[in-house]
Symmetry: none
Subunit: 208 residues, 4 copies
DNA sequence: TATGAATGAGCCTTCATTCAT
DNA sequence: AATGAATGAAGGCTCATTCAT
């Protein structure tokens, strides 16, 4: 309960090394020996701080998980916007979140099955979505449709493409990078382009 | 490289068991012991046929990989269609391919980094795309744009959303299933719905 | 169920080494590495044959356990004897059993708490005792008491001292050996003496 | 060696926790971590006070050992008794000692082999026996035999059964408890009964 | 073709111990 | 007096691989 106490530098270093490796290679492919080597400490020290590899992973997973979904549903200052502006803002926020945490979706996809407790947490988080955001947005959407500015389409059929396009970009990016031998600049350009392209695509698609 | 001699039944059984497990749990989390148990044979037999676990994995990876991209770019009988029909057909073909091989994208995303040799292969395959398909399709697209039936948009900016939406559906499906506690019927309905929803979304988005 | 199949020589060697070490030092103080060294094989081989240290121990424990209690209650040809002769024979049989398996009592005392399944087995074995032996013996005892040849005493109060004296000798022998710096000959003499001394003590004690 | 300065309360707490655990589970199966947890202190503190686990164990072993044998041979006020009364008193004293320290015999049996230094100590202690007790008692015994009140028997052949019966009761008690599923009351009754039964048995056995 | 036996390397974990504070 | 941090060694176990048959 009393979480977020200031970690010791070593504990923090372990967390960071573990985070890096778990995100990069997944739980199974990461060994505590590798983490220790990355930290530059004895392997037993990892168990001193976190007792088990599973524990260490859970700590990181939960933290990343919370961070991700808290930001995902944290959409302040949207109320005063027009509908199109809202959509644009939400997609760009989501995109930014992924840009800052590009490996989290794959982490969740990979490892959620190993963490049934987290499933419940996610379910709960997702339940907040309709009430806080979905309902309001849906009202706007229905108004837009009635006004003839948007074609008849359900909100979920807007959100799924939006989320899919954003997530897919970052999930598939490592493959694309490798295959197209992209350098950092090219990658940056691609991301920059997709940010707006995704928004445009959605907005074009829903126009009446 | 591609020796296509008919496999022995045992060799085939190993391949099938390995395929199932590798797709399900990934390379690291699958052991040759598990594969042997699944086949119902001796552990050493796997090495008799494939020498190393890596070898066995590569065989499957390459095969799945070929299958995936061959079908992806194999668009017979498209020529006679109209542009919209072509797009619809391509997306639905791609969707069907994913439906039949829902785990392949995750496999590639997960394991491609471990297989630099495969990257070259993929690159080569991708180079065929523009020549066989891309160019022809692009001609159609430019014609449609000139005719005012499609808004000005590059072909790649149509393909990326299309592929993204299809891939994201199947990559994220295991998480969605778990979180929403969907049964088989619900899952089937969702997939059925998305098949057409994805097409519609693309088509709506590109209309002038 | 189909137990007692002919063991491979290596498996047998492992069993023997493990038996020796487990009896000598107990479960906790014996490592699989030590067992492997004793056998002269790789440590992993022990897990190849028995999967876990616990499994290996259980195999030995159960075998020793069964052997011990089967012989304990296997008292053939006693029926035709007179009462005193019966008592003598039973004590000497028990003594011989301990002589051949001097470390088993300590093994059971040490490790039974770690093996709750075995407790049930032992309980069952012990339930056979009264029916097969105890009842008959008790009839004899009552007859002897009525005839005035034996003082009034319950059978259990004869058996407990008998068993105690026999067991205590072998359980305490390692300590006695060490403390008194006895050589093999002295030890043998002591055991030989106690064999008869124990019988005599019991017989003297119950005489009217 | 025997520095008898008053222990610090913490040191005392460690000793008590360690004693409890060592007696219960033996040296190998007890970890300094467990002891620290039992005490509620830091693990390092145990080494601060006792330097090594072995040292801590030796302290306890030696203390228990001394206590056990000092009381064993400490037979005050016996001189004025008659022979039978002496025997009775000695057995009951021994029994009481075991009742208060029921785990010590098993501790010694288990761990003496790991402590060759302690063997010398025990040997020395045992050498005091004949001088202080044995000789006097033997005189009494010979007198009794000569008087025809006791059958011809050596003192050692009285003492071994007496000690054996007492020790065996407490050494085997944990097994008996488990197997017969005895509750505390039943156990208490059994012990109470055996206390006198053991005395009676010895006395009956030596009568002429 | 197929298998049982065997092995070295690595994994996660626990342990006793040390050291600086 | 007491503690948190850190470590080397060892434990049990699994793994991919090899080899003789």
């Amino acid at each position: 309960m009393a979480e977020e106490k200031l970690n010791q530098p070593t504990e923090q270093a372990i967390l960071e090394a573990a985070e890096k490796l778990f995100l990069e290679k997944g739980f199974e492919a990461t060994s505590t020996t590798q983490i220790a080597k990355e930290v530059g400490c004895n392997q037993a020290l990892i168990h001193y701080y976190f007792r088990t590899k599973d524990n260490l992973f859970n700590t990181i997973f939960e933290q990343k998980f919370r961070l991700f979904f808290q930001q995902l549903f944290n959409i302040e200052g949207v109320k005063s916007m027009g509908f199109e502006e809202k959509i644009r803002h939400l997609i760009i926020s989501h995109f930014a979140l992924l840009e800052n945490n590009p490996q989290i979706p794959l982490l969740i996809i990979r490892e959620l099955s190993r963490k049934p407790e987290q499933v419940a947490l996610l379910r709960e988080k997702l339940r907040e979505l309709p009430e806080k955001l979905f309902a309001a947005l849906n009202d706007d959407l229905q108004a837009e449709i009635k006004a003839g500015r948007v074609r008849p389409v359900s909100l979920i059929d807007i959100m799924i493409p939006a989320i899919s396009m954003n997530v897919a970009l970052f999930v598939m990016m490592p493959v694309v990078e490798q295959v197209l031998q992209m350098d950092e600049g090219q990658k940056k350009n691609l991301i920059e382009h997709r940010r707006n392209a995704n928004v445009d695509f959605i907005l074009h698609s829903i126009r009446a």
